[in-house]
Every structure is written in structure tokens, then in C-alpha cells.
């Protein structure tokens, strides 16, 4: 066997690839992150908002992109594709072809002057062709890496960019290069491609200018989009009043061969309709759909809000054709409703395009030797959703099946855990840990401030009179040095800053340039190299918030720049060095719950060499999986259960505690201490992280004669019968959404539609003559499960829709069960006399969740499931650091989704357990115990429970929990709380100096 390598290749720089890279790099692996375009970010970077929270997509994504871009152990390889693969799991050699962007990545500062001067306008792909960019361009303003690229196909070679580039970064002559990477493992995250709506010619896309794809509409909604965030019609720039959204364009469509459901379009269409209504409340939005597949956590609540609060109109009908009225460019949608054919006029039509496999999927599969499924997505198995057919190559995100962001991110962390399990021995072998010189003690010195004012090419210098600002700055108190730079962020400028600090014995540094949000880390690094504490640095934003927004008022901009720099210097004079304390990490995991999720998470941690305590309250492991006898697909769940339990019992790193409950949890990330009650005996364990995998329950219904007539059973009870072979019935009726999607539990239980179809297919297999009726609200067989819905329909399973107004009526007559159901198509009530009535009941949260939540100080949703830190980007984290969740404790989900999340929780946990120590943020609150009167206001206000009262009744900050928001500081009636780096004195000095005053004036 070849020697294993502690490096990983991640293919695809969308949100999934970025998450995998960050988790791996944080856990001690070298990561090569490859993207075929010029920057990372993927489709998420194009989205306006995300469902179901309407978070701004770029705002939540950008910090991750910046994090990946500047991580010392992540190397971005853009404009690149894989050409060849050799070797085996643990030791691969990958040949990568990298196209030139014709701009030197080291030299380019991203100032953008080249694009301003470039004479060639080109259609902008980022804005889906609705806007223009230049031939030298950034994919989008927040792009990582912040390096311009020349589109050589459009470039006329005029050389203007080379002339204007002060950084001398243009390299028109450079060509393709070949890079050889040696890695232990590969993660595939190439995402998806949008379905090409031109293929559905009946909708007129490409012919009618007011027919848009959903991603185009997403760009129109966006403030940085082609119309500046105003919804306009492409044909005439008019504001539309009526918009139609057409679902399933390129999905659930046998004619074009995409039988599967794209899983996300129902939700994103609802989101787009809601956001459009927020832009313009007069707008009428209509969504034409087949089934409303709002299956995820809190999705139905969002759907209900769209209909109830935002007045989005939902029409259950497939639009057969779109025609254009040439005089107005309005569009006629032709569809059928319960009254007959309808022609309805709209101003704009949005096609909810489905997800196709990435267009290079076949090439990628051929080069890597992995299998694709029948639709050319990456082939995976139910019990190994993150593994490709080739050992050592893992997959996450939409490449294995259409999925939303939260599931892609959970899988991304999961794939990272899989990789770490494979090459855990090589952890830390290829990563660099930067060593810094010891910090200089400056506390006793008077401030000696150095100020560096950036011209940013002409971005600042072209508007603001930089020499005048520098001259002015030199007159300010405590400033001992000031200079201007062409680009203060360039590599050579860092060297200058470092030397200047030494030479002039500076103890505070101010850079006046762009925004600290992107550049503060760079300069902090520089001052740290110069032996200064990072909190002795501060920035003045004279570009993004000055020269760029006052381009036509150079004099006023110069005055403002002086004010801003003076204000920053006023703060800098008061800066104090702050410690970033280190805390030790106990490299031990606690997994709460021994079902499939808990066992999976425990195994994934143990495979990396971490000790794990696995706690189960029942007398055996397995949880809900013990009741699953077969799945949609060919794997045998009971066999998997047995082998997993065996693997756990044979793994000496895992300590299993049965009949055990948690009694108490204390401590914080890296250092938890938990008391267990094992069979009446108390036991204390210490651990660095905890994973909540406490599962959920099948609800016991109280309607439809359940518990009254023994012929009324739940799906799980039916499955037991089928598995034991004691199924016998001529007619079976299944009722969906029993206890779900009602007033008590507004959300969908997600798994019951496929569970019903699974059992219906099993019935058809063992007893083909049995009639099966499924009474449903919407069939939510998303993703490839749609195939089984189709199969069931083909095998004669009858699907009848009902709604809340016409629920089926179940009675007992003469000893017979009688189900009366309203058939909406023929508008008649149909009586059915089943031998067996099967209820698809709700999945309800574990009743113990409340107690657990209080013990762990983590929140629950209104429904009673655990609430993750962020729906989209932190799906398996809690806001409390060091605690994670997975599986049914999160929300109802399928086996493969539970496994993905469990691996994801293990992947997130390893980023902590892999470190010996954790660095705590220094800019946090601290309380002066002499001033504190113990009123407790701060204790109740702190969103992180980071303040507690000590035995004397005085408030005390738990440093490791504090995030430095400063809310406590603003509310303390005794002014006893200091928010470090943002102290009252510092903020006041800055604010007042901006007005030309000092606090003593």
C-alpha cells in the first residue's frame, strides 16, 4: 500500500466545496480547492435571498469565501479542470489543467481600474446575460480570489488594462499550465447546472423576452443585479403587475428524460414570489404547480405565510403553453382548472428551472473512474450517501442528488469527516502553522502612531487628495509617522509597514484605505509580524465609504477623509493590547442518542482516533432503525443495523452506555463535564464536544378510529406486518398527513409520502391483486424518490387528493371499515371499504427535548425540534460553540439524510477536537467587579448566556462564551462593563473626533 498523504483535493468552489475545505483545513489537512471559473462562490453567490429565512445570500456566504481565500492551508486553484487521476485511496496523483486568467494573481489588488478603462462590453454571465461586464472582469464584486480575469475570446488586445494597471499585474502572454497534485482523498462538489429552458419550447423562453428563468429573476431581485434591485420587464423596462411562476420546468418530466424532482424549486419559487411582493406589494404573483413540495424544516410555515400574509396565489395546474401578445409583449398562460381551459394574461413569466447534473459530469466520471446514476448525477447508496463508487473519493451537495443549501452544507461537513477518517494519521503533516515573534510590551509607552494612507491606484487617489491628507495627519497628536502608498495591501507595502514599525518604534498603526471587513486580517497579520498585538491596529475606510461614493466631489471627499482618519486616530490612541487566551481541548466526544445518527457520528469520530462516549437511554442501540425493515432501493436496513452495532462494539475508542441518561452538563467548548445516570449509577465524563442525536418519535394518532378498530394501523405497524409476512388484505387505504400540516403541527413530516409509497410497492410485490389507495394533500417524493412515485402509479396504486376542507371520513358500519373520500376531479364522494386503513402519522419531537435543551443551553423550534445555529450555513451546529446536532433531533428526515447530517456533525466536531488549544476572541466584554452592583440586567440581555453571577452576586463574563457584541455594555446602569476594542472611551473619541471635537471639549 502506498503511503497516505495528508492533503485533499476539493472539486468545486460552491458553498459545499468551500465548507468541506474549511472543515478539513481547520482540522489539519492541506486543501486544494479547485474551481472551473475564475472565483469561488458557485450558484449561492448569485442568489438574492435564501429560504425559509429570507437571509441575504451574499451576506451569509461572503465571510466563508473570505475565510477560504485567506486560510493558510487552503490553496485556491481557479480556471482549472482535472485531466488525469492515478493512485488509490490515501495516495492519489491528480493532473490539473489551469487556464490563464492573464492577470498575475499575486500582483492584482482587485482595484478594478482595468475594468473601468476597458473599452469592451460583454454579456455578463453572473447576471445571467441581463447585464454587461467588461472583457477584463471580476465575476462579482465580492469575488474570492479578488483577481481580475481577461476574457480572451472578447479581448481585442488594446493593452489599455496593462497601461492603467499600477500593480503591473497584466500578463497577456501567459498560457495554460499543468499542475500535479498529490492528495490522500478527493471530495467532489461540482454542484449542478440549471436546466436549459430552451428545451421546453412551449414556454417560449428565448423567443419571448418577458419569459425568464428563475435564476435570471433571482438576479433581477438582487440589489446588485442588472436593474439595481427593481423588478422590471426586459422587453420595455416597465414595472410588471402580474407575474406567473411555472414549476417543474425540466423536472418530473418524462418527455425530456428528467423524471426526478429537483427538490428546491417549489421553495425557491415561493421565496422569489415573496421577495417580489416585498419589492412591490401591489404585484400579483401566481405559482402554477403540481405538488407543493415544502417538505423541509419550517418550509410549510413559509408556504402558509406566502399564501396567507403575502397573498401569493397558488394554482394547482400545469401550464401547457405560453403565448406572447405582440402588441404589449404580455404573455398568455394556457392551463386547465376545475372549470375548464383558461387563458390568463401576465406581464412576466418566470420558469422554475430544475437542476441538471453538471455539464462536465460525464468527463469527470470518466477521468476519476466513478459511477453516475441514470440521470448522470453521482451514484451513491442510501447507507453511504457521501461515498462515490471509488474508494477515497467522496461527494457532497447537488452532484449526488438535487438538494438545497442546508443539506449541501451538512453533507460537505460530512464528506470532510469521511476524508479525515481515511487519512487521519496524516493530520498536520502538510499544513503550516505560522509562528509569530513574541509581542512587544507597549502598555507603559505613550502612543506612537504610524499612519499609512492608501491611494488604491486611482480608486482613492483619483478623488481624494492623498498628499493633503498625509500632511494633515502629520499634525495630529501622537502621530509620529505618516506616508502614502500606491497599494497599502500589496506584498511590498507589508514589508514597508513592518520596517517602519521597527524603525520608528511605532506602537499603534492606522491604515486608511478600504474596508476592514476584507483587509483587517491582512494588516493585523503584518503588525503581528512586527511584534505588535493585533488590537493595536485600526482602519479608516476612505475608499468604499468615501472616494467611491463621492466621486464627483473631490474636495468634500478629501475633507471627509481627513475627518475619518482623524476619528480613527483618536480611537487608535486609546487602543490597548488584548490577550487572546488559549484554552485546552479535551479530545473526546459525547454523542447523545444511539440511533442510526448517533452511531454514525460516533463511528466517524472514532475512525479519526477520538475517544467517544455514546449514551443511549434504551437498553439497546438502534433507535428508529430497529423498526425499518426495507427501504426504497436494494439495501437491507436490518443487516446494516447489525453490522453497525457490531462495528461499534468492536471499536475500542467508543464507550457505549445503555439505559443511561444525562443528568447535568457544565463547562464550555473544549471542556465540558457531564454527569450520567447509568442504570442508577452516577458517572462523570469529560469531553470537548457534544453531538445531540436524540431522534424523534412516530406520533400515536387520535383520529380515524386508530386504537378503536384494530384494522387501523400506522405505516410503521404495516411495515412490521409486511416484514413478518402476516399481511393479508384485498383493499388498503392509506391516509397521508395524519397529524402533520394541520393547526397543531403546521409543518410537513417529510418522510411519510415515500414511506407510504414504499409500503404500497411492497404490498404490490407480495400481493399484486390488492388495491391500494393513497389519500394525500401533496405527494412530496422529492429528488430521485419521484421514480418510486411513478412506479407505484404504474403498478396501479391509486392516488386521490384531499384538502383540509374535505378530509376523508372513516366510519365503522356493520363491522366494516368505511372510508368516504371526496374526489376533486369527478367531484363526487367515493366510498371505499378497506380491510386495512393505514395512517401516515406525524414524526414528533422527542418529549425529552425540552429537558435536554435546558441542560445544554440550546434552543428548540416552536414545534419542539432542536434549532440549529443557522438554517442554511450552520445546519448541524448550535449557536453554542462545541455542541452539534443531527438526524431526527433536527427534523424529520430519511436514512440517507440522517447519515449525511451525522457525518456532518462529526465533521464539524473534528474542527474543534483536532486542535490542542482554541484561541478565544480578545475583543470581548469584561466587568469591573468594583462597579458592578449585581442588578443582573446584563445576565438577562446576553444572547449567549456568557454572563453569570458569582457567589458574591457580581456579574462575571465567561470569556470563552462571549462573542463581543457589546449589548451588555450599552445597558449597564453602572457603566461597569468594558467592551474591549470597542470601549465607551474609544467609540466616543472616534465619534467626537469625526465632528472635530475631543471628549474634553
Amino acid at each position: 500500500m502506498l503511503k497516505k498523504i495528508g492533503a485533499v483535493l476539493v472539486v468545486g468552489g460552491g458553498v459545499a466545496g468551500v465548507q468541506t475545505s474549511l472543515d478539513l483545513a481547520e482540522s489539519g489537512f492541506k486543501v486544494y480547492l479547485l474551481d472551473e471559473t475564475s472565483s469561488i462562490g458557485g450558484v449561492m453567490a448569485q442568489l438574492d435571498k435564501t429560504f425559509p429565512t429570507n437571509d441575504c445570500s451574499m451576506c451569509i456566504l461572503a465571510p466563508k469565501l473570505v475565510g477560504a481565500g485567506r486560510h493558510p492551508n487552503i490553496q485556491l486553484i481557479t480556471n482549472a479542470e482535472i485531466k488525469k487521476l492515478q493512485g488509490e485511496a490515501g495516495n492519489f496523483e491528480v493532473t490539473v489543467a489551469k487556464k490563464s486568467g492573464y492577470v498575475n494573481e499575486e500582483k492584482c489588488t482587485g482595484c478594478g481600474i482595468c475594468a473601468q478603462k476597458c473599452p469592451i462590453e460583454v454579456i455578463d454571465e453572473y447576471n445571467e446575460g441581463l447585464g454587461v461586464r467588461k472583457a477584463i472582469y471580476l465575476k462579482y464584486p465580492q469575488a474570492v480570489p479578488l483577481v481580475y480575469t481577461i476574457d480572451r475570446e472578447r479581448c481585442i488586445g488594446c493593452g489599455t488594462c496593462r497601461e492603467v494597471c499600477k500593480a503591473d499585474a497584466i500578463e497577456i502572454g501567459s498560457e495554460k499550465e499543468t499542475v500535479i497534485l498529490n492528495v490522500g482523498s478527493i471530495v467532489l462538489a461540482p454542484g449542478f447546472d440549471e436546466f436549459d429552458p430552451n428545451l421546453k419550447s412551449e414556454y417560449g423562453y428565448g423567443r419571448f423576452s418577458n419569459v425568464l428563468s428563475s435564476i435570471e429573476f433571482e438576479r433581477i431581485l438582487n440589489a446588485s443585479g442588472p436593474y439595481g434591485g427593481i423588478i422590471l420587464r426586459p422587453s420595455d423596462g416597465e414595472i410588471p403587475r402580474k407575474i406567473a411562476f411555472i414549476q417543474c420546468v425540466g423536472s418530473r418530466d418524462a418527455k425530456i428524460g428528467n423524471n426526478y424532482c429537483s427538490s428546491t424549486c417549489c421553495m425557491y419559487a415561493i421565496k422569489e414570489a415573496v421577495i417580489a411582493k416585498e419589492h412591490n406589494p401591489q404585484l400579483q404573483c401566481t405559482i402554477f404547480f403540481i405538488d407543493a413540495r415544502a417538505y423541509g424544516k419550517e418550509f410549510d410555515a413559509y408556504y402558509d405565510r406566502a399564501e396567507g400574509e403575502y397573498d401569493v396565489r397558488f394554482v394547482r395546474s400545469r401550464v401547457s403553453r405560453i403565448e406572447e401578445r405582440p402588441s404589449s409583449s404580455n404573455l398568455i398562460a394556457k392551463y386547465v382548472n376545475d372549470k375548464g381551459p383558461v387563458n390568463e394574461e401576465f406581464d412576466l413569466v418566470v420558469l422554475s428551472v430544475g437542476m441538471n447534473p453538471p455539464k462536465h459530469a460525464e468527463d469527470l466520471a470518466r477521468v476519476l473512474g466513478i459511477e453516475l446514476n441514470e440521470y448522470d448525477f453521482c451514484s451513491t447508496q442510501t447507507f453511504s450517501p457521501l461515498e462515490t463508487s471509488k474508494p477515497g473519493i467522496y461527494v457532497c451537495g447537488a452532484f449526488s442528488s438535487p438538494k438545497n443549501i442546508q443539506e449541501s452544507v451538512a453533507q460537505a461537513s460530512g464528506a470532510a469527516a469521511k476524508v479525515a477518517g481515511l487519512i487521519s494519521q496524516e493530520k498536520g503533516t502538510l499544513t503550516t502553522v505560522k509562528e509569530y515573534p513574541p509581542e512587544r510590551e507597549v502598555s507603559d509607552e505613550a502612543p506612537r502612531i504610524g499612519v499609512f494612507v492608501c491611494r488604491c491606484g486611482i480608486n482613492i487617489g483619483g478623488v481624494i487628495n492623498v498628499p493633503e491628507v498625509v500632511e494633515y495627519v502629520r499634525t495630529l497628536p501622537d502621530v509620529v509617522y505618516a506616508e502614502e502608498n500606491l497599494y497599502t495591501c500589496s506584498q511590498d507595502a507589508q514589508k514597508r509597514i513592518l520596517e517602519t514599525i521597527e524603525e520608528h518604534n511605532l506602537n499603534r498603526v492606522v491604515v486608511a484605505s478600504c474596508t476592514p471587513r476584507t483587509h483587517e486580517p491582512l494588516f493585523r497579520e503584518t503588525v503581528r509580524d512586527a511584534r505588535l498585538n493585533i488590537y493595536l491596529f485600526e482602519m479608516a475606510n476612505i475608499r468604499d465609504q468615501c472616494s467611491w461614493v463621492h466621486m464627483h466631489e473631490p474636495q468634500k471627499a478629501t475633507e471627509k477623509a481627513k475627518d475619518l482618519v482623524r476619528a480613527t486616530i483618536a480611537k487608535a490612541r486609546l487602543l490597548k493590547p488584548l490577550p487572546k487566551p488559549l484554552i485546552n481541548v479535551t479530545p473526546v466526544g459525547l454523542v447523545i442518542g444511539g440511533g442510526l445518527s448517533g452511531m454514525t457520528a460516533a463511528l466517524d469520530l472514532a475512525k479519526q482516533g477520538f475517544e467517544v462516549h455514546l449514551v443511549e437511554r434504551e437498553k439497546e442501540l438502534g433507535g428508529n432503525l430497529r423498526h425499518i425493515h426495507y427501504i426504497l432501493g436494494s439495501e437491507d436496513p436490518q443487516q446494516r443495523l447489525t453490522s453497525t452495532i457490531k462495528e461499534i462494539s468492536e471499536n475500542e475508542k467508543i464507550h457505549v452506555y445503555l439505559n443511561t441518561e444525562l443528568v447535568d452538563v457544565t463547562g464550555y467548548v473544549g471542556n465540558f463535564r457531564t454527569t450520567l445516570n447509568c442504570n442508577g449509577e452516577r458517572k462523570e465524563i469529560e469531553h470537548g464536544i457534544a453531538i445531540v442525536a436524540t431522534g424523534a418519535h412516530e406520533n400515536k394518532p387520535t383520529e380515524y378510529l386508530y386504537g378503536v378498530d384494530e384494522r387501523v394501523v400506522t405505516q410503521r405497524e404495516l411495515e412490521e406486518k409486511l416484514a413478518k409476512g402476516d399481511f393479508e388484505a384485498r383493499t388498503v387505504v392509506m391516509i397521508q398527513c395524519v397529524g402533520s400540516r394541520n393547526d397543531e403541527r403546521p409543518n410537513c413530516s417529510r418522510i411519510c409520502c415515500a414511506q407510504a409509497i414504499k409500503n404500497a410497492l411492497k404490498i404490490k410485490e407480495v400481493s399484486p391483486k390488492t388495491d391500494v389507495y393513497i389519500l394525500y394533500k401533496d405527494i412530496r417524493t422529492y429528488g430521485f424518490k419521484e421514480d418510486f412515485y411513478r412506479e407505484a402509479a404504474n403498478k396501479g396504486v391509486l392516488f386521490i387528493r384531499y384538502d383540509n376542507e374535505n378530509k376523508p371520513k372513516v366510519t365503522q358500519e356493520n363491522g366494516n371499515l368505511n372510508v368516504l373520500v371526496w374526489e376533486p376531479v369527478i367531484e363526487t364522494s367515493i366510498p371505499i371499504e378497506p380491510d386495512l386503513l393505514v395512517l401516515s402519522v406525524a414524526t414528533i419531537p422527542n418529549p425529552d427535548n425540552k429537558r435536554m435543551a435546558q441542560m445544554l443551553k440550546v434552543p428548540l423550534t416552536e414545534d419542539g425540534f432542536f434549532l440549529e445555529a443557522h438554517v442554511k450555513l450552520r445546519p448541524v451546529d448550535f449557536a453554542t460553540e462545541g455542541i452539534f446536532l443531527c438526524g431526527l433531533a433536527h427534523s424529520p428526515m430519511f436514512v440517507e439524510e440522517s447519515i449525511s447530517q451525522a457525518c456532518g456533525a462529526a465533521g464539524r466536531a473534528m474542527t474543534i477536537l483536532s486542535k490542542e488549544t482554541l484561541e478565544v476572541e480578545g475583543a470581548i466584554a469584561s466587568i469591573d467587579e468594583n462597579l458592578c452592583v449585581g442588578c443582573g440586567l446584563c445576565v438577562s440581555l446576553c444572547p449567549y448566556r456568557a454572563i453569570e453571577k458569582d457567589e458574591k452576586g457580581t456579574a462575571r463574563v465567561i470569556d470563552v462564551l462571549c462573542k463581543g457584541c457589546g449589548t451588555c455594555g450599552a445597558s449597564c446602569p453602572k457603566r461597569a462593563i468594558m467592551i474591549r476594542y470597542f470601549t465607551d472611551e474609544q467609540i466616543l473619541a472616534q465619534g467626537l473626533a469625526a465632528l472635530g471635537r475631543t471628549p474634553h471639549d
Binding site: 438574492d48 429565512t53 437571509d55 441575504c56 445570500s57 451574499m58 451576506c59 461572503a62 464584486p141 438582487n222 440589489a223 446588485s224 439595481g228 434591485g229 474596508t515 476592514p516 471587513r517 475606510n541 475608499r543 468604499d544 465609504q545 468615501c546 467611491w548 461614493v549 463621492h550 466621486m551 464627483h552 466631489e553 468634500k556 471627499a557 471627509k560 475627518d563 475619518l564 476619528a567 449557536a879 440581555l941 444572547p943 449567549y944 462573542k963 463581543g964 457584541c965 457589546g966 449589548t967 455594555g969 450599552a970 445597558s971 467592551i979 470597542f982 465607551d984 467609540i987 466616543l988 472616534q990 465619534g991 467626537l992 469625526a994 465632528l995 472635530g996 471635537r997 471628549p999 471639549d1001
Partner: protein, 146 residues
């Protein structure tokens, strides 16, 4: 000073995660707005102590802008709600002190709302220009209403 020559001085306390980023985006998008605002970055709008606002007015600010993440979006879960309560209270205090409450604004600006940010600065500048200089900035004193 004539009203037409009067250019207001506004101090803005912007949260790092949404509003400061929104102000940056206005720059990236080159959306022009009047040079009347001086931004002070804080990590969260919940950090804005009422004293900061009062001190800014006492030191001659004609207006104060506090901007944070939209409700529900707060990077620190709920700091913006706390800011909201404080600003509502402060507006009442300003009125008591004889300052027009319009001189103080709380706005929600997300990181993608560069345009909205610029519009707010424009609006606020116009509104305060109409109100004229703060009585305090021309050497006045808080005029407590009896």
C-alpha cells in the same frame, strides 16, 4: 448660516455585519450620496449606548444614524431588537431636550442593500437640511422641556 449653505454633520453608528457591509456595497456599486455622514463601526447595533448618541448631539452632530441588521438577521441573535428599544426611548428623550426626534434615525440595512443605504443617507441629509443646524451645534444647550 443660511439654510442653503448649511451642510449637516451626521454621525453613523453601523453594525459590522450588515449595515457597515451595506455601506461598503454602496461604494463597490459606486452609488453616490452626500458627504455628510461619518461612520463609526461597532460590532452590533446593540452596542450603541444612548450616551454615544447624546454625546454626539452635545458635540455638535446635526443628526445621528444607527443602523443594524434587519429584524431576525442579527449576527448576535437579538442585538438589533435591543437597539430598537433604546432608540425609541432616546427619541422621546431628545424631544424632552428640545431636539427634533427626526435628527435620530434607526435603520435596518442588510449587506446587500447598498442602494438602500445610499438612499437613507440622502433622505436623512435632506430632512436635516430642512430642519437646519442642530441648536447645539451652533452653541446652544439642551433645552429641557418643562
Amino acid at each position: 448660516m443660511t439654510k442653503s449653505a448649511f451642510k449637516p454633520k451626521i454621525v453613523g453608528f453601523l453594525c459590522n455585519w450588515c449595515s457597515y457591509a451595506g455601506a461598503d456595497l454602496a461604494g463597490v456599486s459606486r452609488i453616490q450620496y452626500p458627504p455628510t455622514l461619518r461612520i463609526v463601526r461597532v460590532m452590533c447595533s446593540g452596542r450603541v449606548d444612548p450616551v454615544f448618541v447624546l454625546e454626539a448631539f452635545r458635540s455638535g452632530a446635526d443628526g445621528v444614524l444607527v443602523a443594524g441588521c434587519h429584524p431576525g438577521d442579527c449576527h448576535y441573535l437579538s442585538g438589533n431588537y435591543k437597539a430598537q428599544r433604546r432608540i425609541l426611548m432616546l427619541k422621546k428623550v431628545l424631544e424632552q431636550l428640545g431636539l427634533e426626534p427626526e435628527r435620530l434615525r434607526l435603520e435596518w440595512v442588510s449587506a446587500s442593500e447598498g442602494d438602500r443605504f445610499a438612499t437613507i443617507v440622502k433622505d436623512m441629509t435632506e430632512e436635516i437640511t430642512k430642519l437646519g443646524p442642530s441648536p447645539l451645534s451652533v452653541g446652544g444647550h439642551f433645552n429641557v422641556k418643562k
